[in-house]
Symmetry: C2
Subunit: 426 residues, 2 copies
């Protein structure tokens, strides 16, 4: 378990990273406590009085010192309520779970308030028995729990034509990763009965939400019967309003737009509806000006979250933890490599824990920084053997005019000052 011995800096390097009690030596460039340090040797105000009770905050919020770790938007991307996007502060998070409170949110006509007593789910179309479920009905079916990532197809979408947004939150923050509890969609469909649909191979479902946009999407029956969940809860508690309370669809590994919120209706049909959200939107413009559709799966992707523009290095040379996130809509992450020189040489990162299926995987490179500039990149590989492409490789196929499905390798230029900037390397 001594991971630091495998890829990390030597013990000797760490010995210079903390202040020796009573000794005064300070290694060059290291931020550190002075010794003797009154903050540890003297009794501080917070040890001389009672702290706060917790009864006043029966549902707590982050401490005020962390009030910058919030969802943020990009003003020029949010002209009105229908185009509102809020990004997860991934640069400031660690681990894999995203708290609901700061999990990115995209909607098409605002987040609606829909109380459980007013909730209904209709299943209609080519079913043996058209049904309407109340929320309470749904709770009576066997439930499952799974951790899945949800990524907007437009994540990193502003970077096609060049490095544009200066922060991992804005370039890669349209993603979150939560533990969902819900009923397999398969169970709901089987309850309605699918014998009326005949051969299921060429059948589809059409799902829509209860909001004004309805955000209707077509899903092939094979996926619908596989791992899709009709979910009530995320990270143990009820879905937040903006995440589709009381019920949303969870479509593991597939683009976030299909994870219909405030789920209202599921229609079994002979073919796709070709709705607005899958024709004029959520298709990929190619280099020749044509568009391709049905690009549902989010391909393998990764990003270094720290250091990054919003999370600069604030100490001098020596021990440095480089960390980030990797994921694949096709399954599990197999390996992540990190480059400090813009992709010329690569080191294999340490994965924190067993990678989950269609879930975020945290990676670390425990390394030593020489104080010189770095062109930091990460490159994910998934269990299918797929390797995350460079921007150049992606543009050869897709051109510059796409918005969706940009899973290219990201570069952060880390300067000797420790500050970082979004750049491209050729």
């Amino acid at each position: 378990m001594s991971e630091e011995n495998r890829t990390g800096p030597s013990r000797r390097q760490f010995l210079t990273s903390a202040a020796a009690l009573g000794a005064g030596s300070v290694a060059a460039g290291m931020a550190r406590a002075q010794t003797p340090d009154p903050l540890i040797t003297e009794i501080q105000p917070w040890a001389q009085q009672f702290g706060d009770g917790v009864d006043a905050t029966p549902y707590g919020l982050p401490i005020r010192f962390e009030d910058d770790v919030i969802r943020r938007n990009v003003p020029w991307l949010t002209a009105d309520v229908t185009s509102s996007i809020n990004f997860t502060p991934i640069h400031a998070l660690d681990g894999t779970i995203t708290p609901q409170g700061c999990a990115f949110e995209r909607h098409h006509s605002g987040a609606i308030e829909l109380a459980k007593p007013d909730y209904r789910l209709m299943v209609n179309g080519l079913v043996d028995r058209e049904l309407i479920f109340t929320y309470e009905d749904l709770e009576r079916f066997p439930r499952e729990n799974h951790v899945y990532f949800c990524e907007c197809a437009a994540n990193t979408g502003m970077e096609w034509a060049g490095a544009q947004l200066n922060g991992a939150q804005f370039t890669h923050g349209m993603i979150h990763n939560m533990e969902y509890s819900g009923v397999p969609l398969r169970t709901i469909l089987q309850e309605a009965g699918l014998s009326a649909a005949g051969d299921l191979k060429d059948k589809w479902i059409y799902v829509e939400g209860a909001d004004a946009s309805s955000n209707g999407r077509s899903i092939p029956m094979e996926k619908a019967l596989d791992d899709v969940l009709v979910a009530f809860k995320a990270n143990g508690e009820a879905l937040r309003k903006e995440h589709g309370y009381p019920v949303r669809l969870v479509v593991p590994g597939w683009e976030g737009n299909m994870w219909v919120k405030w789920l209202r209706r599921i229609e079994v049909s002979d073919g796709p509806v070709e709705s607005r959200e899958e024709t004029s939107k959520y298709t990929d413009t190619l280099a020749d000006g044509t568009a391709r559709k049905w690009t549902w799966v989010m391909d393998a992707k990764s990003v270094v979250t720290s250091p990054s523009p919003q999370s600069p290095i604030t100490h001098g040379p020596g021990a440095l933890v480089i960390t980030g996130l990797a994921w694949s809509g096709h399954g599990r992450i197999a390996r992540v490599d990190v480059s400090k020189d813009g992709g010329m040489t690569w080191e294999t990162a340490r994965l924190a824990g067993e990678p989950g299926n269609r879930a975020l995987t945290r990676f670390y490179l425990d390394t030593e920084w020489n104080g010189e500039e770095m062109f930091l990149q990460s490159r994910a590989m998934d269990e299918t053997g797929y390797v995350q492409p460079t921007k150049t490789q992606l543009r050869e196929v897709r051109g510059l005019n796409s918005v969706y499905h940009n899973n290219c390798i990201q570069t952060w230029w880390v300067k000797p000052s420790g500050e970082a900037e979004n750049v491209e390397v050729s």
Copy 2:
């Protein structure tokens, strides 16, 4: 994956649990939508206007309809700030992750506000080199991520003499389960150097917090070098103030009091300190009036969270999901059984996902309720072969005067009305 076929009710039973569209028949006792149902056939107000934007809540809270899913205290247990306990609303949660905002909280002199620039961690005593770390120093060591439960030793402690608190939140809610990110304590101790301590087998550490109580506890070196974490983050984000911001100790499987918050000092010593928190408190009074100490590990335990007094059955006979949580401080849960008749007969529950090491495991029994009273119990077994004891078995060893380490089987009397009550069965 069709779990409902293994332990759940038959398809036929489900067919009567949702309203058939256009048909008017209602199975006896089932709560359900009327058909035709204007809530699905008519355009509702929330589909005729924009919902809310999300920019106004850059860090979101639960929807107002869920404002009862909060930490709660028991007034007679919270005489003043030093005895404040808030319980997790486990009766209303699903899955395994506990959101920080409603995760139980126990402190001994209030939750202090300690900013990162003011944070220091001292390592002293029998070390080669006494050290003081800043927060930033700690972030430069290799980190790990693990999901662990944290249970207060006093959880279920009010139930020794008889069934007392009427709700799973109050009887079993001094527990939470989060994904922690932090540095292994082993790394910190090795940084200070342990050769000065000689034979580590009989050595201890003493850990204390920066709050007025200091809450000092002694931990054997073997555990300190095993899986203890110096943690910064829970569920991806910074620890909340009441959970020890910016740094707490995570002592997997061991009683919550040892998970020292606002971690200030670690001293390597020849023996335990025998502090207040491990002598007059956090020892177990036995039947003969003597007390036993060093009962650190939280033995295997489980509880049905729904149905339960705060989560009654609100529908008639038919399909019913019984669910709950199981955990063991000795490792992984191997099996959970559920009884409907107060322990006379048992059915094996379905575990949702691979049980984690020293983490909460969700179990389900997908069953059919005949509408008659039940005496619901759950019984956990862990990978060591240990079986959760009955209250009677536990009292034979421990008597009635203990507070801590009550891991007995809990009974909920579910009445024909669907309401439930905390009772004991002989």
